[in-house]
Structure formats: C-alpha cells, structure tokens
C-alpha cells in the first residue's frame, strides 16, 4: 500500500510478480463515447463486433427490458421517444440552464437540482443515464481484458465546473466503477500526443466535441504535462452547427411553430448530412416537410462562423491569461469530432498562423490519453513516469456582504490547491454564520454558479467583528472541492465540511445505488467481500514492509507491539467470510497506523527537502 511505500515517492510501487491490473480510459462524450486500454505505453480503442469504436451516447429505455446503449436505428417510435441523447449537457445543470429544445420531456426535480427525464422506464436523473452509458463501456472493457476492472480514468471537459464534475463522479459511483482520476479532455489528448508522438513544447489543445468546447494551453516536457491556462464553453459543440442549419431551414420554410420531437430529430439528421456533404461539395440540396432548398457553403459559413469565432475568442483569452502570443506556441493540436470540419480547420489555422496537428484520430485521441494514464495510475508501471498538472477552469469563492463574490481560489490555479480566508461576525452575540460557496468570474453573486450553502453554528457569542471564521477551500487533483469553516479565536472550535453536491444529495445516490444493486445482491456481496479481503491483505503487507524499514527508527517498542498484534488479528479474520468484521479491523488498523505513516511522510519530506532519498541516508 502506497501509504507505507512513501520512502520512495515517485518510484514503482509494484513488485515484479504482481499481476497486471485491468484499467481502461473512458471518453464520456456528448454525442459519442469511447473506451480504450493501454499496455506498455501503447493504447488502443476497444471496438464492437462490427469494428466500431464510437458508441453513440444514446440510451434507449423500455418498460420491460434493460436499457440499451448506443442504438443507431430505432425499431419503432416508442423506442425513439424513450431514447435519451446528449445527456452530458444536463449533467450538473438545473432546468433553467437549459435554454434549447430537447427531444424529450424534463421535469423539475423535487430538491431543485438536476431535472428528471421522462422515459419508458420511469423518471431518471441525468446521472442515472450517464451511469448506464458508463456500464456499457465498462462491460466492453471487461470483455476485452477478461475480468473485472481495477480502475478507470474518465475524461471531462476542462471547462466543466464543480457541479458537472461531481455529477460525473456520481455517475461512475452508480455504475460501480473505481475512478482513478477525472481527467480533463485536452490534458488526456496532450498525454496521447506526448507519449505516442513525442510532442514537446508549448501547445494549444483545441477541443471541439459534439457538445462542449475546451481550449488548454499546455507545456509538454519529458513526461510532464502542465496546463498553464484553460478556457472554453461547456455548452458549445458540433451539435450546435447542426442546430444552426436546422433553424435556418425552419426560417426558410416560414414555419410558425416548432416541429414535434420526432420531426426535430429528423431535421437534425438531415442538417448533419448536409453539413458533411459540404465538406466536399460547394452546395447541397436539403428538404424537409415539403420544403426544398439548397444550402451553399457561403450560407453555411454565415451560420456557423459566429460559433467558431466564439471558440477563437476563448483561445485569445487563454493566451492572454498565460501572457503569450500565437508566435510563442510550438504547435496547435486538434481534438474532437467537430474539428474534422474544414471550416473549423481553416479558421483555426488563420487565427494561430499555422497548420494544426491532427495525426491522431480526433475522435479517439482523448480515450487513448485516458487509457495511457489509467494504466499508470492503476499501478502497471513500465518505466514511463508522467506527471499531470491540471488547473481549475473557473474561480471559486464565497458570497460576502452586498451580494458580492469574493474569490478565494482564482481560475487557472494549479491543483491540488488549498486557500484560506478569514471572515468575521457583523452582529453582537452572533452564534452562527451562513456561507454561500460560488464558482465563476463575475462580481455579482447572481451571475455566478451557486455550488453549496452551509451554516457554521456554535460560534461563542462575542461582539461584532471579534470572531475569526477561517474558511478553507481545498480542491483535489480531480478538481473537486471541499470547503470547511472554523472559528479560531475561542478554544471552542466548530467546523464543518461540505461537498458541493448540486442536484444529487447523498440520500439520492444511496437510493439509486440500492436500486441498481437489488438485482445482483449476491454478486455484490461476494465482490465486496473479496475487495475487503484484498484491501486487508494489502494493508498488512504494506505495514509489514513499513515496519521492517522504519519500525525501529520511528516507533517505540510498545507501539510496535500494538501494531503487530492488530495486524495478526486482521490476518486471521481476513481468512473468514465476515466482511463487516474485516472492514472494521482494517479501518482500526489503518487508524492506528496513521501516526506512523505521518511520521514516515514527514521523514520523507525532510529528505526530499534535503534533496536526498531515504535510501541514500540509510547507507
């Protein structure tokens, strides 16, 4: 266990005889999703029996059958109505955020979070629909790798905010997956180019997918992938090009009312076909509901240029944030299916003044990067050390008097990051303080996204302005935030930790988990038992080697005796089928050994500070 292998940070933690672990990278896209796996630094996307890598991100629900994922053609109209596409756009969003037409019915959720979607299988949260897609992809991975997955890396748009990342993580939990990391899509693409094409230097990753746009400015150098600045639009993608054409058709046709959802789907399909036809042709015929017309390239450009310009403005801002100019860049990398569009390529090339790179398939590159990183994170080391330094895309802060947002962590801060700020009471004898956590760049609270509200209670009564409430923001490597608050002047401390869980509450997740577990109760029980046994043995093994290495130096004889006693007890219980007891004893041992681990880590960082490793010192 890494907890105890800290004396050799950054080194291989896996012994040579350890079995290969099964890990995949998942690109959970708005229109299409992919799964890939890697071995020894070579990744490949996993295909179905017909050789197709792309899985349409569509889930078809029925009242009687299990959900089907990736159906391209519908057997009947009932299928079509219950087919949920582009669910990624709903993740971490409330109904008021959705200002475009959807071919299915939404309903406000009772707790004011993400809306529920009406399907033949009942009302479902976007998180449940995403979980179904993840299950399907994971299954493809399990079949290809011959067993249960040990871990997955799931990519998210760099510009996804807290609520969207939380929702994605919840979906993975619901699908029963162990998430090694949520990785930004442009960062994943950079990993693929860096490891596979040996790309180095300062690069722009321009990532235009079906429903999201991201741009990241990154430095790539000998296995270090560092995001300098990032920007984008979490609700702009190639699908919007189709929508622009469809709306143009309706306008030409003089339609007075919106088509129903069946006709709208059909219109979008034709719009997409016309868009593809214009790649080679100067113009293409298009017809819809009795109307016939011709879409020329010039008209098409007039429809989509504004959308492409929006992406270029985001590029400009990112260069600005990084204090750089297009000349400072060594390469531009294109990612995402929508970058196949010649118009996009033309305008990107003109903006940056050079031809962009697209030597890895823009649909596959994100999944490939995710797979390469998953292989490393799960512990299948093969010599290539990578370090991924990501940033948060949007500033995090707190509401202050007058409805203003006070930034605590500015955008583009490298994560993990922790920052604290002090606040005080404004009334005499005030014993509670309510805190409103926000994300965004604007000054006014109403223009920012509300992530969480919580109250700090138990502040001892004092005169106004005397209390010192320290609010700490901590963002982990996945970009997920934890906020804690604490009153520091009195001996009496009150503190609270809140995780923004926009939309889904812990109870909701627990309930959904229960539903999905109900069918396979016994399998789960066994699986859970195995996991607990393995976890227990890993702890024992790690502690043993830690004791061997540093037990003498860092622990008293009494402390050593206690740890060894607990370890032996756990070893004998781990051989039984008593999962609860294994867990209790594992946790107890873990707790007891925390202090030892902390001492080792402190010793470790002292060595690191001195520029040496423990093994140098031992000699």
């Amino acid at each position: 266990m890494a907890l105890f292998t800290i004396s050799e940070p950054g080194q291989s933690k896996l012994r040579a005889h350890a079995p290969r672990k099964r890990a995949v990278g998942i690109d959970l896209g708005t229109t299409n999703s992919l799964v890939a796996t890697a071995r020894e630094g070579k990744a490949e996307v996993l295909r179905d029996a017909e050789g197709r890598a792309l899985v349409p991100s569509i889930v078809t629900y029925s009242a009687t059958q299990a959900p089907r994922v990736g159906l391209r053609d519908y057997a009947d109209a009932a299928d079509e109505r219950s087919s949920i596409a582009s669910v990624k756009r709903l993740m971490g969003r409330s109904r008021s955020d959705i200002n475009y037409q959807l071919p299915y019915t939404l309903e406000d959720s009772p707790n004011g979070g993400m809306p529920l979607i009406h399907t033949a299988a009942g009302k479902l949260s976007p998180v449940q629909v995403s979980a179904d897609i993840l299950r399907h992809l994971a299954k493809r991975g399990e079949e290809a790798l011959g067993g249960e997955l040990d871990g997955v890396v799931i990519t998210v748009p760099a510009y996804f905010d807290e609520a969207q990342r939380e929702a994605t993580r919840d979906a993975a939990r619901l699908a029963g997956l162990k998430v090694l990391r949520l990785l930004s899509e442009p960062t994943a693409a950079a990993v693929a180019y860096g490891l596979d094409k040996k790309l180095e230097g300062t690069v722009i990753i321009y990532d235009l997918g079906g429903g999201t746009f991201d741009v990241s400015l990154m430095q790539l150098q000998q296995g270090v992938f560092r995001v300098i600045a990032t920007g984008g639009d979490a609700a702009l993608g190639g699908d919007d090009f189709d929508r622009a054409i469809a709306n143009w058709v309706l306008e030409q046709q003089g339609a007075t009312e919106r088509p129903d959802s069946h006709d709208w789907r059909e219109l979008l399909r034709r719009a997409r076909a016309a868009k593809h036809a214009l790649t080679d042709a100067e113009e293409t015929p298009i017809e819809f509901a009795g109307w016939q017309g011709v879409l020329t390239r010039a008209t098409y450009y007039s429809l989509v240029d504004a959308l492409i310009d929006t992406t270029l403005r985001a590029c400009k801002r990112v260069l600005r944030d990084a204090r750089m100019k297009p000349e400072d860049l060594s390469d531009i990398v294109l990612v995402g299916g929508a970058t196949r569009s010649p118009r996009v390529r033309e305008k990107v090339a003109a903006f940056f003044g050079r031809e962009p790179l697209c030597s890895i398939d823009p649909d596959e590159v994100v999944a490939i990067g995710a797979a390469l990183q998953a292989d490393v994170l799960v512990g299948n080391k093969y010599g290539a050390e990578t370090l991924l330094l990501d940033v948060i895309p949007l500033s995090l802060g707190i509401e202050t008097m007058g409805g203003l947002m006070e930034k605590i962590i500015p955008r583009n801060s490298t994560i993990p990051v922790a920052r604290a700020q002090e606040f005080t009471t404004y009334k005499d004898g005030q014993t509670a303080m309510s805190l409103h956590v926000l994300q965004g760049e604007r000054e006014l609270v109403q223009d920012c996204r509300s992530l969480a509200r919580f109250e700090l209670k138990g502040i001892p009564p004092m005169v106004a302005g005397a209390a010192r409430v320290k609010v700490t923001f901590q963002v982990d490597a996945d970009g997920l935030l934890e906020v804690s608050a604490e009153e520091t002047t009195s001996g009496q401390k009150a503190s609270i930790v809140v995780k923004p869980s926009f939309g889904l509450q812990e109870d909701d997740i627990a309930e959904m988990l229960k539903q999905s577990y109900a069918k396979a109760e016994e399998d789960k029980r066994l699986r859970s038992l195995r996991e607990k046994q393995v976890e227990a043995l890993r702890h024992i093994e790690a502690l043993e080697s830690a004791l061997e290495a540093d037990g003498e130096a860092l622990l008293s004889a009494e402390e050593r005796k206690e740890l060894v006693g607990m370890m032996e007890e756990l070893r004998s219980v781990a051989a039984t089928e008593d999962a609860d007891r294994i867990e209790i004893l594992t946790n107890r041992l873990n707790e007891r050994s925390l202090d030892f681990a902390a001492r080792r880590m402190d010793a470790g960082i002292r060595q690191a500070l001195a520029g040496r490793r423990l093994d140098d010192v031992d000699q």
């Binding site: 266990m1 940070p9 490298t414 993990p416 960082i605």
Partner: protein, 175 residues
C-alpha cells in the same frame, strides 16, 4: 498568510533564500517535488494517504506560486523576518508616491478603450516597478526592514496597477 510566516517556502523547495530567483531552478525544484508527492502517485492508496498527498502538493503549489511572483515573494521575505506585510500604516507611504499613483489611476480610467495608450502606461508602470524593486532589494540586503517594508507597499500598489492595466487590455480583446 499566517502559516507562511512559520514555513519557509525557499527551504521547502530547496532553494537559497534570496530576493532574485533563478526561474529555471524554481521550475526544476517544483517539478521534482510535484512528481514525488502528486496524488496520482498514490492513486491506489487509501483515502487518508491521498488526502495527505493532496495537502502536501497544495503546499508545494502555494510555495511555487508565492515565490514565482515578485510581489508575493517580497511579502514572504518580509514575513520570514517577522514583519507582517499585510498591515499598512498610513505614515509609511510618502505623499508624493500616493499622488503619482492617483494620477496614474486617473490616466488608466481615461485611457480605457485605447490599446496603444494603455500599452504606454504599462511600460511606464513596469519601469517604476523595476526601480522600486532595486531599492527594495538593497534595503533588504542591509536588513533595513522598515525601509524594505515601505518599498514593498509601493510594489504592491504598482503590482495592482499592472494587473488592472492588463485586465483593461484583456477587455479590449473581447470586443
């Protein structure tokens, strides 16, 4: 900032404590510590270990950020000498400097929207920042701490002005 007064970020990164900083040494030290402590190195570990790795790397990130930017580095150097850099006494700033600041701020307001004029103002402020920095460095070298603190506050003002000029230029780009 209270923790920074106890923890020496130069030491944390294994760099000599100095006003001027070797940028490439900073980068090297930062990347080497990050690769040792980044939570990705502990992906398979238990929650407590991961939480600890997150704390360590947050600290390393903060140290890097503090030392990289001249103004925060100056504040840190003062804090290490037991001086609370955030507390500004009115008498510490000379009226001529404040007057000049007010003039430059008015100039910034007047020139919003004019890219070339903003650029010129930026050059002027950068120049003043450089000369002030030299005075700060000399004061610190002879441990003339109250003088160093006075110059630091000037750097703070100038740094903020630089930031605002930059933001004004960024706004022009958005149109």
């Amino acid at each position: 900032m209270s923790s920074s007064s106890t923890l020496n970020y130069f030491e944390l990164l294994g760099l000599p404590e100095s006003v001027e900083l070797d940028r490439s040494a900073l980068e090297r030290a930062y990347q080497s510590l990050q690769s040792q402590w980044h939570p990705d190195q502990f992906a398979g570990a238990d929650a407590t270990t991961r939480a600890r790795a997150v704390q360590q790397t947050s600290l390393i990130n903060d140290a890097y950020r503090t030392l990289r930017e001249p103004v925060s580095r100056a504040a840190h150097l003062l804090a290490l000498r037991g001086i609370e850099p955030d507390r500004l006494e009115q008498r510490e700033l000379d009226p001529a400097f404040l007057f000049e600041q007010m003039e430059w701020r008015e100039e910034l307001e007047a020139k919003r929207g004019n890219e070339a004029a903003l650029g010129q103002l930026g050059v002027k402020v950068d120049e003043r920042f450089k000369t002030t920095w030299r005075v700060f460095a000399e004061a610190l070298a002879k441990e003339a701490l109250s003088e160093a603190k006075r110059e630091f506050h000037k750097l703070q003002f100038l740094g903020r002005l630089q930031y605002e000029i930059n933001e004004a230029e960024a706004l022009l780009l958005d149109d």
